[in-house]
Symmetry: C2
Subunit: 414 residues, 2 copies
């Protein structure tokens, strides 16, 4: 019986045309976050199970984690998120590192989910974190970067909305309303799922969790548009930084257990896909879980699947050409003799794919055109003797006789 | 109890200074392979267990594979190598793809090994494969690329040696000597382990496997320096391509079961680390395991750990500067007012890290210098009014008053 050619469910094969899009997206992410002084790090794909059990959130750990015992009997997991890993790395060098510490990474992450639009089992996620800043400036910068990324891709300000909330302010209200811890959690969970529920469903679940009176009080609180003090100050600074697509939203809760105050989510504002794409917030306590002094931290994660969906639905993905500049078609038995000139062209920055098969010339030209490459260079004994080579544009069929230097110029613009 | 700050055994944390080295190494790999017309692909980290059981080799599957059942009861594995994944992807589009097909990837791979020099549980591996070429030109190109990569890093021709063999030619000899399949396998396994054995150990194991008479015949065959016909032709073409660090070695066997003819291994020639670093060869049968017509294929894999060891021991790793061009130190309460000028500098390609803490000026300067960044830019109300900013070289302590344009020029050379 032969093996299946399908990739594992919920994961993607990246053929070169898919990989090119990913590379294009990631290069832009790197440009923006590096312009804010962030440096790239990485951590192992496998971590001990415990670092997720601590703070990642119950749903992920009990239902979505890829965890297993290794051959040495250690309980391990494939990372479902990067935050515990980066907190561990900062804790390991708590004393030596320089703060503010600005780090980013683009790891692949795994969650056992039912595959659907925007959710796969394997995805990549930009993680951006600033460590060591207690003040609002860190929250401002992280939100500013999210905004700068979307603008870099050409997203219009009305195509997305950044919704911010203060968990501390919300917590104070919940305390006034005498919610116990279990009720507090139930409310946060309901808020996180609200977009996927009808209003009736949400209201009756809320009543069930906290009783009619408190439910009414909560609904009234959430309908307020007046932001608490820290959010007002945040919005003021972000306005100065040119971030306009932003509002206060007292219902933003986030799924993870480690957030401590300001949180935000970026929503796709298109009618057909109005939902949270990514988000983040302040988590001042996670590094300390590794037995060191706490480090104030703000960060966010941005997944490649939701990002790509957003760019596609807003027509912001360009058509990308293959990296290969030209197919080289040999005329006669010149494979050995042609090596020096190929080497020269490559050292001048050209990417050249030689067709060494024994097919007929016509078949080779057709084949080169089918491969998507734009030019073909023909080299035979005569060309080698004259040091002039035929360059053919496979789209327009235009042909020129050129020297090596001229070919480099024509193909790379140098 | 607090969590451990250690990474999983045999895996590495990449702090920014480590990640920079990896990115530098990988950028060079991409440059070289793309210059030969190869395009990048990727595949999921998790594959079905079966694709490794087929041809990867018994030691890896039974002792080193990270395999487990997912939450849906599927038997899966974290990839220990990329070749089965890429063969699966080619098989899935066997008809639509254009040949010669040139693909590369730099996946992270997992094997449960006892961590030691050059061997870790998680490593990255450049995989380069050419599909659809039956002739020797494909073998030539793959070996040529290995050589071009090492030369690109500045490796001297006498610092490494490429050892090539023909499994077909060796197979014919073994057949003449009437080795059965079990003996053939035992001999291949012994050859693969030979560098880690003493001569006496090797000879007695060989005698045990095939008897004294055949052992003597094999030892005589391996001492021959006359290459078989296809290797002679290969060496001739490689010489024309400028590859000089290459020899015929009838003992090269490779560990995987899927190789079908020419194989090669690249040895570190330094006295203290004389061993195989990486290798590859022709495997014409693997794509057909997925139920399609066979595709002739040649490829190689180059691991990042052995590569980095080689570059380090040959002093070929440069000192790399942080990506951040300057620390921005604010004077007074100008966080909001400074945003437009920061945005302008960033859009001109500068990477700037703002210190938004309330530390004293001296502390901020010390901190910036400690972070490794080369320059500091000072901005206060006066600087904003004059549109001139103080740029300080933190190493030489030289200071200049410059406009935004001049700062861009000074820091990026534009």
């Amino acid at each position: 019986m032969s093996l299946s050619t399908q990739p594992y469910k919920g994961a993607r094969d990246f053929y070169p045309e898919d990989k090119r899009i990913q590379k294009w997206m990631f290069a832009k992410l790197r440009d923006v976050v590096e312009s804010f002084g962030y440096q790239e790090y990485d951590a192992p794909l496998i971590e001990s199970f415990e670092i997720y059990a601590a703070k990642t959130g119950e749903e992920i750990v009990s239902e979505q984690l890829y965890s297993f015992e290794d051959r040495g009997g250690r309980k391990v997991a494939i990372r479902p998120e990067m935050t515990p890993s980066v907190s561990r790395m900062v804790a390991a060098r708590r004393q030596e590192l320089t703060y503010p510490l600005r780090w980013y990474s683009i790891p692949n992450l795994w969650r056992y989910e039912r595959p659907q639009r925007g959710r796969l089992r394997e995805h990549w996620q930009l993680n951006v974190d600033i460590f060591g800043v207690e003040g609002l400036e860190a929250d401002v910068e992280i939100i500013q970067i999210t905004d700068a990324i979307l603008k870099t891709y050409g997203a219009k300000p009305d195509s997305y909305k950044i919704r911010v909330n203060s968990l501390k302010a919300a917590g104070a209200v919940y305390k006034d309303l005498r919610l116990d811890q279990a009720q507090h959690r139930a409310v946060a969970k309901l808020l996180d799922k609200r977009v996927r529920m009808s209003e009736t469903e949400f209201n009756s679940s809320l009543k069930e969790a906290v009783g009619q009176k408190t439910a009414d009080d909560l609904l009234e609180y959430w309908s307020k548009e007046q932001p608490p003090e820290n959010i007002a100050a945040l919005l003021n600074l972000l306005e100065k930084a040119g971030v306009s697509s932003i509002v206060f939203d007292p219902e933003i809760a986030r799924g993870m257990d480690y957030y401590t105050d300001i949180v935000f989510e970026v929503f796709d504002e298109s009618a057909e896909n109005n939902r949270a794409m990514f988000g983040g917030g302040r988590y001042d306590g996670l590094v300390a879980e590794f037995g060191v002094e706490p480090v104030p931290t703000v960060g966010f994660g941005m997944g490649d699947v939701t990002l790509q969906n957003f760019l596609e639905s807003n027509s912001l993905l360009p058509k990308l050409e293959p990296e290969t500049n030209a197919a080289v078609i040999l005329i006669g038995d010149v494979y050995g003799a042609v090596q020096p000139i190929l080497s020269e062209l490559r050292q001048n920055g050209l990417n050249l794919a030689v067709d060494p098969t024994e097919r007929k010339l016509d078949a080779k030209i057709k084949n080169a055109a089918k491969s998507g490459v734009k030019y073909a260079i023909f080299i035979g004994e005569q060309e080698l003797a004259n040091q002039k080579y035929k360059l053919k544009n496979l789209k327009s069929s235009e042909e020129k006789e050129l020297s090596a230097d001229q070919i480099v110029q024509a193909l790379s613009g140098r």
